[in-house]
Symmetry: C2
Subunit: 275 residues, 2 copies
Amino acid sequence: MKEEKSKIGIFDSGVGGLSVLKQFIKYLPFESYIYLGDTARVPYGNKSSETIKKYAKECTEFLLSKNVKLIVVACHTVSSVALEEVEKVSAVPVVGMIRPATKSALIASRNKRIGVIGTRATIASNAYQDYITQNSYNSELRVFAKPCPLFVPLVEEGFINHSATKLVANEYLSDFLEMNIDTLILGCTHYPLLTKVIKEILPDVELIDAGEQAAIFSLRLLAENKLLQEEKDNFLPSPNVEFYLTDMPMNFKEIAKTFLGFEVDKIEIVNLSGK
Amino acid sequence: MKEEKSKIGIFDSGVGGLSVLKQFIKYLPFESYIYLGDTARVPYGNKSSETIKKYAKECTEFLLSKNVKLIVVACHTVSSVALEEVEKVSAVPVVGMIRPATKSALIASRNKRIGVIGTRATIASNAYQDYITQNSYNSELRVFAKPCPLFVPLVEEGFINHSATKLVANEYLSDFLEMNIDTLILGCTHYPLLTKVIKEILPDVELIDAGEQAAIFSLRLLAENKLLQEEKDNFLPSPNVEFYLTDMPMNFKEIAKTFLGFEVDKIEIVNLSGK
């Protein structure tokens, strides 16, 4: 029996990263996880890059103190504006959201017209747009980006299939029809929950779930470095996750279940800013 | 000529308090103001009362360091769950949102059926509900409270008259019709901007703008304590306000203009959590 290796650390500005954790559990079910949500300072998406970098550094240091073998930056905003800061601080590999999602979009797109949606900070950073352009050899490639700030609060309010959400989605997304994109990167942790609504407006567009792509990317990275847990014959009755939050939000349990599909019982509250 | 007295300090979790500042400028145009928005940690409305108390204390200490003569807690969430903490720290008078709005609602209501809307934290604290009940001698009085978490992001996205906002408002408010309220307290700084939409759903209900009531309340408080600036014959070309934020949000200037009606030029960024 191989020696047990350490855990995978995932951090996010809040609860949204749970949709990324869900994908990791799906692709890497024998791993143990540490999830950190900075719920005391959520959301990051409308804040300045300086503030986001400071918060990201504090989250990274917390996960490193837990001796993780991999850091997953589940927050697209942090992945867009502060990935370098995280990599600078971290002694273990770091996986952000941009690279895996972009790679997958470039492979998926036939007409080389790719859309990206995300928070204000993610879109304004141009991280997705630049990464896509830099990694394509096709000079015809076009990227269309659009911030969708209301999607996060709508999901957190549970308005997943609400007619108001459909109106907002139509406002944000209908331009993509004219732009004739065939692939759309869901550049925010909350957006995969709106897949059905988005599909109604853009039925012929392939949606890229960045969390899923990051999980597949990490599977390969950990395997190549011989850092994966051994596979077992039986799955655990429930996934092995330690949850840390910087604040207990009012409706956390409901939201967690929406994102993860299972109940979260034990949560530890930690303080990052005092350090 | 009387000696010049110090400024009025107003703090909020973010930009919403600018709607309160607007009311103060209207009723107290000869005063000078210091506005603090904790934009690095906004919003408070979905956070725990422990975290809200900590943040409120830090905001109060900042305003006190600026030598203000009055502290206005523009944030309804703080007014609901942390007003005592602010009063404990402050050597100068403190005006919150609950008391002035409640008093006005009790006077306005004829049928003694009062509605309150606010953030999740404000409504869950029962601060409005308790204060209304405690201050009414009418045992028939009924209070109906409802959290409306999506109103804040809708206003900040500029969806003031959008059809999605009308659908959300209808979802939140239509129950009040059956409850037969005749008065509704707008228990959040952002809600006065939705007056028109709310009026469409509740045309016969009197809306109480808590910021306006707090300004009138402060006018009396300062006058009784001889702390008002002397009235001048001419109004200033622009109001005398110093703006401090803990982070510069992406779309601050637009939002500020929506809330205040005038442009904000000079903003200083300060750090509260490092103290």
